[in-house]
């Protein structure tokens, strides 16, 4: 059932509820907090990529005046990791370090200068161990695996799945194509670096403020590592200065800040430097990919086999999920009757990778969309036709048991094709200019929580005061995406109240009911639904009380803007809530959201990929390439996104434009690259992100498929629009120059190498050719769901 908005609040472009606080400098990010007697912490980080810690001498640091506490690994011996399967990190390294920048010791002192001097006085003796930095090396047998677990290699996780009969599908094909692709890793580069402040409160409880997207998960891990009951710890997530997934993990600095506050009884703050952020990382995985697809001559896919090799860096983090995400969502845009996915994530002596906007899906989406472009050319089809021939249908199941509901992909394609003039201009643009096309899809929230449980994934509470004020309590953390504004809009629309007049209490484990956090694009769908649930219950309490009071049939009582409409009377909201409080007592309602249970299959790995709804996007990119320098300039982007319903079109457009920006950085310039095990440029000077001068004109097209389960029909917008931009640009470079760059980012030197190859009679391709020497297990065979359409 979709609840239709009728108060004109949902669907109206409106400023964020906190916009004036942001614009006047009032918003309190974690680094803006200070407390009387606050100490400043610093972390000593490993200079070695892989080494045994022989000894740590902290005596000189401890003796330095102004130093209050020095911690090393043995002070916090409990291991942790975001996923139950990845409990492989310590707050500070114990026994050995696994990458340059691994946290080794921490100091809290009267000021940051003293803390830094103390760090410099700590002597660590290392015994170097063999260093592994590439996927090819990491799949080999070794005597010194990065994590000491049999078998003796650096494999973290492997998946091998087969849905339907893939071999039969290839046999039925008229045409088969294979490609190899590589997608380099990159960093979130949120403008605010990570930071935390820990305070021991008057009642002896520990209060940790952090720039985190996931206060609930931080709360759980703090309790575990500090060996304290959760009830003795309060976590407040400050508004973050950008997240993009960077702040969805739990980090050393959060744990040691808390422990140092606990030991000293003094507030302690640690804010990371930009260089530390590049080494703390958890960004996009470098992924090597192989894809083979069978087609019949009209372009219909008969089978697909997809292999991925993920360079995970030194720790598990979200990697088990990242691995599955490189395989699971290919089927959400295209009907693939038989599908094999085999993937492996390896450990290397580099900073750990994790989730970044699109988590594990931009890499395979790039591969798939470029692969389809090449196949279309061979089959004599245009890029639109081959996609339309294979488009997923609404209300179907995919071969890997994902439930597709609302789907505006076809409309997204039509809108960008039409507005960009693609059909007339593709293949017809003059010298160095080209057009490229691609599509994408993303989840509106992961269907399963990080730790297995049957509790709601979002809970919201509303409380009404006697003046008619409504306070919304939710743990959803605003990392800039506008979750607080979304909550205010949903509650405001339901109750007929102005969103800017609601009180929002968010992201605090003492004050707010659980929301799992701002990741997997889950907040609008899940917290939005929980808020809608709570608001509908509140509306019911108020309307019932007014009907009773006036002896009216409840059917003739309804909510208007700021009033209760009761027959021919208009009762102001504040008066109506007093009538309701007199009848019911304290007006508090709660709402919850839990995804339906039937959205996932029954196989190992089925927990990653399901979502209560998928967003869809289509993109046309226009590029202008310089044959002399190899420079690619993106001139214009058309991006249509099926958001279900735009709760606030201003914020939806902002997410589309922001996604385009981040995608352009990834496709053209950004790389988390290493010289050996050293980051090749851990600063924003060397790691370039697009400035305003690199930003093209963006035509944002909002498509509304009105999802039956989303709040007012809404789905996600924070991550999906990034996905098609990257392959659209790469396909446009092919249209412009006739070359194929099968490796992200598309740097000028790669363009020049491909042009050079083309000139010398080659195929004009730049990219990887070989896969590591690695044998996957035989796949787990899974029957397709009965309703899957087969060719």
């Amino acid at each position: 059932m979709t609840i239709d908005p009728h108060h004109g609040i949902v669907g109206k472009a409106a400023p964020r509820v906190d916009s004036l606080a942001q614009a006047t400098g009032m918003t309190r990010y974690v680094d803006d907090l200070s407390f009387p007697g606050m100490l400043h912490g610093k972390i000593l980080r490993s200079t070695q990529a892989h080494a045994r810690i022989v000894s740590i001498d902290t005596s000189a640091a401890e003796a330095l005046p102004g130093v209050h506490v020095v911690l090393t690994g043995t002070d916090l011996p409990v291991p942790f990791g975001l996923l139950p399967v990845s409990q492989d990190e310590h707050a500070l390294a114990i026994d050995k370090v696994r990458h340059v920048g691994d946290a080794v010791a921490a100091v809290a002192a009267d000021d940051p200068d003293i803390a830094q001097r103390a760090i410099d006085l700590i002597e660590v003796a290392y015994e170097p161990l063999p260093v592994v930095t590439t996927i090819t090396e990491a799949v080999k047998v070794t005597d010194e695996p990065i994590h000491r677990e049999p078998p003796r290699n650096n494999r973290d996780r492997e998946m091998s799945l087969e849905f339907g009969d893939v071999d039969a599908g290839f046999e039925a094909a008229d045409h088969i194509r294979e490609d190899v692709f590589f997608y380099q890793g990159n960093n979130h580069a949120a403008l605010e670096t990570h930071g935390a402040v820990a305070v021991v409160e008057e009642d002896g409880r520990l209060h940790v403020f952090s720039a985190t997207q996931v206060p609930h998960y931080l709360h759980r891990i703090l309790a575990s590592v500090l060996e304290m009951p959760e009830g003795r710890i309060r976590v407040t997530a400050n508004p973050t200065g950008g997240g993009f997934g960077a702040k969805t993990d739990v980090f050393s600095h959060e744990l040691v800040t808390a422990q140092m506050a606990r030991i000293t009884g003094r507030p302690v703050k640690i804010v990371l430097t930009r260089e530390e952020v590049f080494y703390a990382h958890r960004g996009r995985h470098p992924v090597l990919m192989w894809v083979k697809t069978g087609f019949i001559s009209d372009g219909a896919i008969t089978a697909m086999s997809f292999k991925t090799f993920l360079d995970g860096g030194a720790y598990g983090s979200y990697g088990a999920a990242s691995l599955l995400y490189t395989g699971q969502l290919q089927t959400v845009t295209y009907r693939i009757p038989a599908y094999r996915f085999q993937g492996v994530r390896v450990f290397t002596n580099k900073p750990a990778c994790g989730p970044k906007r699109g988590h594990g899906t931009p890499q395979p989406r790039f591969a798939l969309e470029v692969h389809l472009d090449k196949a279309a050319e061979e089959l004599g089809l245009d890029p639109i036709t081959i996609r339309k021939r294979n488009l997923v249908e609404p209300f179907t199941s995919t071969v890997n048991h994902l439930r597709i509901t609302s789907c505006g992909l076809s409309e997204c394609i039509d809108r960008v094709v039409e507005t960009s003039g693609f059909q007339d201009r593709y293949r017809n643009l003059p010298g160095g200019r080209g057009l490229g096309f691609a599509v994408g899809a993303y989840m509106s929230g992961a269907g399963l929580p990080i730790y297995f449980n049957d509790m709601p994934q979002s809970e919201v509470m509303l409380k009404v005061d006697r003046g008619g004020g409504v306070t919304v309590y939710s743990m959803a953390a605003d990392c800039g995406q506008g979750s607080t504004t979304m909550l205010a809009t949903v509650v405001g629309e339901t109750l007929g109240l102005n969103p800017s007049e609601l009180v929002l209490v968010t992201a605090d484990t003492d004050l707010t009911p659980v929301d799992l956090g701002s990741y997997s694009s889950r907040v609008t769908f899940m917290a939005g639904n929980a808020a809608l649930d709570a608001a509908l219950k509140l509306a019911d309490l108020v309307l019932t009380a007014v009907a009773d009071e006036l002896n009216l049939d409840p059917d003739v009582v309804s909510l208007g803007r700021g009033v209760v409409l009761a027959g021919d009377r208009e009762i102001p909201w504040a008066e109506a809530v007093r009538i309701a409080e007199a009848k019911w007592g304290l007006l508090v309602t709660t709402g919850t959201y839990k995804p339906p249970k039937d959205i996932k299959g029954d196989y190992r790995g089925a927990g990653v990929g399901p979502s209560p709804a998928y967003s869809y996007s289509a993109c046309v990119a226009e590029v202008d390439c310089d044959r002399e320098t190899g420079h690619v300039s993106v001139e214009r982007v058309w991006l249509a996104h099926d958001v279900g319903r735009a709760i606030n079109p201003l914020l939806v457009r902002g997410q589309i434009e922001g996604s385009v920006h981040m995608a352009l950085g990834e496709v053209l310039m950004e790389e988390q690259a290493f010289r050996g095990a050293l980051h090749s440029g851990p600063s924003l000077l060397d790691y370039k992100i697009p400035t305003v001068l690199e930003m093209p004109q963006v035509e944002s097209i909002i498509v509304e498929s009105i999802d039956a389960e989303g709040p007012f029909g809404a789905k996600e917008v924070g991550q999906g629009p990034l996905l098609p931009v990257i392959p659209a640009v790469v396909n446009a470079v092919h249209d412009a120059l006739g070359i194929r760059i099968d490796e992200i980012p598309v740097r000028p030197e790669k363009v020049l190498a491909a042009l050079d190859d083309l000139e010398r009679g080659g195929d004009g391709r730049y990219g990887p050719t070989d896969l590591p020497n690695y044998t996957f297990r035989s796949p787990q065979r899974v029957d397709p769901p009965p309703e899957t359409v087969t060719v």
Binding site: R16, A23, T24, R274
Partner: protein, 154 residues
């Protein structure tokens, strides 16, 4: 420690600062003007921008002792939540801030531009904010917000 006299947001402040103290540290830590942000402390991102004699400068690369005679303006000096500057209002209305971390610096940079050139072209706006990084918006809404204020100057 050096004695310095600073004029910040119209108020004269008497301070003792270490010779190596940056203006960013002084405004944030000594004067509690936390609207000015640190993003890199190496002059790369622009989040620490303040106005010195009307010119946007990177406060993380500026020593406090070097600006003792100057007029310093931070985001707190151009408007408040009760009486916002037109740029502060426009940034909300045009969705020019998402996480908001680059916003104070963007607004100060835009103010310096509009003070110098009340009706700039979009190209001039882009040129002016090219040294300020934003990771959320893709800049387009920021340009629209600044242009909307410029329009009212016509």
């Amino acid at each position: 420690m050096e004695p310095v006299i600073l004029t910040v947001n119209g108020t004269t402040r008497h301070l003792f600062v270490a010779p190596h103290r940056t203006l960013l540290e002084t405004v944030r830590e000594d004067l509690d003007l936390t609207g000015t942000k640190h993003g890199c402390e190496l002059g790369e991102c622009g989040a620490c921008t303040v106005l010195v004699d009307g010119t946007p400068i990177l406060s993380c690369l500026t020593l406090t002792v070097d600006v003792t005679d100057a007029e310093i303006v931070t985001i707190e000096g151009i408007g408040s939540i009760a009486q916002p500057h037109p740029l502060q209002r426009a940034f909300g209305e045009y969705g020019a801030a998402q996480c908001g971390y680059c916003t104070p610096a963007m607004i100060l940079t835009a103010k310096a531009l509009l003070d110098r050139d009340p009706d700039p072209t979009d190209e001039a706006i882009e040129e002016a904010i090219a040294g300020n990084m934003c990771r959320c918006t893709g800049y387009l809404a920021i340009v629209r917000a600044i242009a909307s204020v410029a329009e009212t100057n016509r």
